[in-house]
Each structure stands twice: as structure tokens, then as C-alpha cells.
């Protein structure tokens, strides 16, 4: 099993300090509420060579030697909250973290790209500061079969800055998706926008944690997601939004599809602090359950301590609508084709919200390929 393999593997890779943590620490198990439906023992590790890089669209690759107008690269130590053993691995590894500072002078339309190419169990970390009034698109891409990528992001969006953060967890390179444990800690200052979009339809074991905290007023947080668990895949999305200041606005829209023997988890926590009056928080989670053996665990978790707020949430788990299937049949398409098209459409609704046209077309094409449409 993964947990028992790990100390020996870390030794072999010349990381005795991580081996020690793996030996002495304890891994999350199903008795821990937030890991109840996400068994760690399902992670499978095998070593492989780093695959060659082939960017699916034009962008600015973030590396220690990246040079671009308005981008400053440095290295800093970063501490992440320690909630589980993976955080211990990560903090042990993160002495010199790639730190990207984006200023107002950054005017490129091209997205900044961060690629995860684990060759075993690897820890990737980035720190991003989006300075006052700056705007940037940031994309995380994944590549590499049967490995585990532990990825940590520390993001600070300063006043009036706009940061669009994308995670594309499907194999755009056709070389296989790694298993992923992603943790994002984002903080926002007044009048800023942080828009996060995550698209997952590949990878055997995926868990994403997104944490956003408000440090100022009159800001917007957007969280959109599409997760697909087919075959034997497991996809888990845990989001946590801390509405800590008044006059904040947020919109969360996650859609999930589970078929075959897939398992999907959605846990969306929204915490509205007592003095976060005039908060406007919207959450919507829709799920399609397309087989009897598939499983979806959806949990909206609203904790509201302020009294003058507008908060709405909805979570649904269901099948495709009969009237929609009938509409397509009435145009001459078979029931099977109709089902396929509508499942495709269900997911595409999230992708269509991507504002950047290059990124939207890239995702849509991959999604259509996946669904055979």
C-alpha cells in the first residue's frame, strides 16, 4: 500500500527527512471527516522518466529564469498550514520557493503557465503576488503517468488586482495525467478579483483543496469547477471561502459527473464572519449520476454568522432530463447519441464560462474529444 511504500521510496530518492516523516506520521483515513470519501491507500506510485514538454497553447512558462516585462522572479521560504502529513512533506521541502511578483507593468495577454511533471512523489510550490491594479491569467497544467504531484500555491491578490487562476487536470499532452493533491491558499485585498476555474476529467486519484480568504471589502471571488469521475477515477474538490470582511461578493459554480465506477466528492464551505455584513455569496453544485455503481458525495457547508447578508446555495444530484433527451430524439438522433451530447453539454456549461478565448477553446476541444462529440 501507498503509505507503507513511501518511507522506502523517499530513502531511495535521497530524501531521508521525508522518509522519516512518512515513517512516523499518520496518513488521513476515513475517520477524518474531510477525507471520509477519499482513500489515500488508492494512490499508486511508480517511477518514470520526465516526459518532454510540449505546450498546448502559447504562454509564459514560469521557471527560475523567466523574463517578462512586469514579472519579477525570486525565491522565498513559505509556510503552509499543517493539517495533514502531506503538509509536513511540503513544508519540509519548501525552503526556497519560486516567487513570482506581477506588477501593473505586466500587460501581456498570454497566460502564465506552471507545469507539473512529477517523476515520482514530488512537491511543487509557488508563491504569487499580484500587485495593486495588476491583471494576469495563470494556468496550471499536469503531465506524467502513475505518479503523485503535491502542488501548493500561495497567492496574494492586492487591491484592485485581477487574477484568473486555472487548473486544467486533463491530459493535454497525451502522456497521461499524474495523481494530484493540490492545495491553494489565496488571499484577497479590497476591490480585487480572484477567479478560480478547475477542469478535471483525467487522472486516477485527484484531490483539490481551494482556500480563499478576504482581507478587504468590495471584492469578488469566483470559483468554477467541472469534475468527471469515470472508469475507476476518484475526484475530490474541497473549497473553503472565508468571507471575513463586509461587502464581499462570491459566486461558486461546480458541476460533477460520475459514471462507470467513478467516485466524486464536492465539499463547499462558505464561512461568513459575524462582522462580514452585506456579504453576497452564491453557491451552486450540480451533479449527474449516470451509473448505479458510481458515487457522488456532495456537501454544501454554509456557516453564516452575520445577519445582513444574501447567501444562496443549491446542490443537486440527478440524471439527465427526459425532455432534453426527447428534444434531441425529435431531431433524428438516437437515445445514445442524445445522452452523450447532453452529458457533454452539462460539462461544457462550466467551460463556456472561461473568458479567455484561447483557454476556453483548448478546454472545449479536449472535452469534446473526451466525450466523443
Amino acid at each position: 500500500m501507498f503509505q507503507e511504500q513511501l518511507p522506502a521510496l523517499f530513502e531511495k530518492w535521497g530524501k531521508p527527512e521525508l522518509a522519516q516523516i512518512a515513517k512516523n506520521g499518520s496518513f488521513p483515513n476515513r475517520k477524518v471527516e474531510s477525507w471520509k470519501y477519499t482513500p489515500v491507500q488508492n494512490i499508486q506510485i511508480s517511477e518514470s522518466e520526465k516526459s518532454t514538454l510540449n505546450l498546448p497553447f502559447e504562454g509564459i512558462l514560469l521557471e527560475p529564469n523567466t523574463q517578462a516585462e512586469g514579472i519579477q522572479i525570486g525565491f522565498e521560504a513559505v509556510d503552509f498550514p499543517r493539517k495533514d502529513i502531506f503538509d509536513d512533506f511540503a513544508n519540509e521541502s519548501f525552503q526556497r520557493v519560486l516567487t513570482v511578483t506581477i506588477s501593473r507593468k505586466f500587460k501581456s495577454e498570454l497566460p502564465l503557465i506552471w507545469i507539473h511533471q512529477p517523476t515520482s512523489v514530488s512537491t511543487d510550490c509557488i508563491k504569487i503576488i499580484v500587485e495593486d491594479g495588476a491583471t494576469a491569467n495563470f494556468v496550471e497544467l499536469y503531465q506524467g503517468n502513475q505518479q503523485l504531484a503535491l502542488t501548493y500555491s500561495n497567492i496574494l491578490v492586492e487591491s484592485k488586482a485581477i487574477f484568473n487562476h486555472y487548473q486544467f487536470q486533463f491530459d493535454g499532452f497525451k502522456a497521461g495525467m499524474p495523481q494530484v493533491l493540490s492545495k491553494i491558499y489565496a488571499q484577497q485585498h479590497a476591490q480585487s478579483t480572484y477567479q478560480h476555474t478547475i477542469i478535471t476529467f483525467d487522472g486516477s486519484w485527484i484531490r483539490n483543496e481551494l482556500n480563499v480568504t478576504h482581507l478587504g471589502e468590495y471584492l469578488f471571488t469566483g470559483m468554477n469547477g467541472l469534475y468527471v469521475a469515470d472508469g475507476n477515477r476518484l475526484v475530490d474538490n474541497h473549497t473553503n471561502l472565508e468571507h471575513a470582511k463586509p461587502n464581499g461578493e462570491s459566486s461558486e459554480f461546480y458541476k460533477g459527473i460520475a459514471m462507470d465506477r467513478g467516485q466524486a466528492v464536492f465539499n463547499g464551505r462558505i464561512h461568513v464572519f459575524q462582522d462580514a455584513q452585506k456579504t453576497n455569496a452564491f453557491q451552486n453544485n450540480q451533479n449527474l449520476l449516470l451509473s448505479n455503481e458510481a458515487q457522488i458525495n456532495a456537501k454544501p457547508q454554509l456557516e453564516i454568522f452575520a445577519d445582513d447578508v444574501k447567501c444562496s446555495h443549491g446542490a443537486t444530484v440527478g440524471k439527465l432530463r427526459q425532455d432534453e433527451i426527447f428534444y434531441l430524439q425529435s431531431r433524428g438522433l438516437s437515445k445514445e447519441t442524445a445522452t452523450q451530447l447532453l452529458t457533454n453539454a452539462f460539462g461544457a456549461e462550466v467551460i463556456e464560462k472561461i473568458e479567455n478565448e484561447t483557454l476556453r477553446s483548448y478546454c472545449l476541444e479536449a472535452w469534446n474529444n473526451k466525450m466523443g462529440v
Partner: protein
Amino acid sequence: MLQIKNLHAQIEGKPILKGINLEINAGTVHAIMGPNGSGKSTLSSVIAGREEYEVTEGEIWFNGVNILELEPEERAREGLFLAFQYPIEIPGVSNANFIKMAVNEVRKHKGLESLSATDFLKLMREKAALVGLKDDFLKRSVNAGFSGGEKKRNEIFQLAMLDPKLSILDETDSGLDIDALRTVAEGVNALKNSENAFLVITHYQRLLDYIVPDVVHVLYDGRIVETGDKDLALKLEDQGYDWVIEKHKQEA
């Protein structure tokens, strides 16, 4: 072309259609009018083959085929078209791709080759122009974010592309302003010929000012209770449905 004989249908055990008889010949336009709840939309759904409705008695013959035996897609491939009152939105599937799939299914059924990309594009542009839809509409997702008027135009666009023998327009006028109504009606009139037929289902008479029917039927309580020419529609416009209800409620 279409013969409906003594059709009875129910939904969830509740009888809605209680013995419909209707015959439609090629080259004609029939209108079915009636008060709310009379069974108009049920009739169109049953002809198109919607599963939720159970036919308990009667027959529907379409060009010599008993279509009650056929799946909805098989009826469509035989040349039956239903323009929906509430068309469905399909995000992520472009109008061009969607209609291409539909047209190719119908062509395959007829034993015809798929159209070449160039011919198809030409045909799509021509039919889109017919209902006043701009070229960029072809790239947009099917009905996603469309206004009520655009959705109805799209229904007539699909009708034009599929070139069916019998088209049923289910409350196509609802939610349309007068300009959209006129465009939709002009589209239908341009498509009318001696080989096809139209069944226009509507609550109000105004659509029939533009698509002039040869025969008008009044549906009440699951039966056709009056049949006449276009003057019958004008009488309903003038006097409402009260006289129909008064005259026939004894039978109900």
C-alpha cells in the same frame, strides 16, 4: 399523409386525449386551436413520440407507417418535425454541429451520402438568412443564452434544414414580438409546398394572420369539437372560447 384515428392518450393515469380523429393531406396547412388545458400540447407530444404519454387506444398513420410503433428519432427520420414551445438549451454544442448531426441522420435513413462541408455551409447560411439569423449564430451553442425569439427562429431554421414532410408548430407564437412572429411566419410560408404539410398549434389567432390555414380545428377536453376554414379562427379571436365550452360541455 397523416391519419389519426380515435386517439386516446393519458399521462400518469390521467386521460388527456379522448378520441381524436384528424386527417392531413400533403400541400395543406391545418391549425389546431383551443383553450388552455384542452390537450393541444399533448397531441403534438404524442405524435412526436414522447415517452411519458401512454396511448391507450387508436392509431396514428404517417405515409402508410403506423408510427406508434416507432421511437421518436425514427419518426423524425421518416419526416416528422416538432417545433418546440420551449426549445432545450445545449451548451457546448454548436448549432452547426448539431444540425449537421441531425441532417446526416435523416440523409442516412434515406440512403443518401452526407453533404460535403462546403455544400453544408452554403445550405446553413441560406436557411439561417431565411429566418433572420446571422452567420455567427452557427458557431454559438444550441439555444444557450438565446432570447425567446431566437429560440423560435432556430426551431424554424432546423425545420428548414431537415425539410420534413409534416411539421408541427407547437405554440411557436408564444413569447414572440410582432417582428419575430412575422419573420418566423415568412420562413414557414417560404418552405410550404405541394409535398409537405403543416400543423399549427396555437392558442391565439394572430399567428394565423401570417400563416393562413386551410383547415381550422378546435380542440376541447381532448376531442376535436369544431372544424372549419380560417373564418373559424377569426370567430374565436372575436368571441373567445366561451361559446365552444358552453356548446360542448355537456359532452365532456
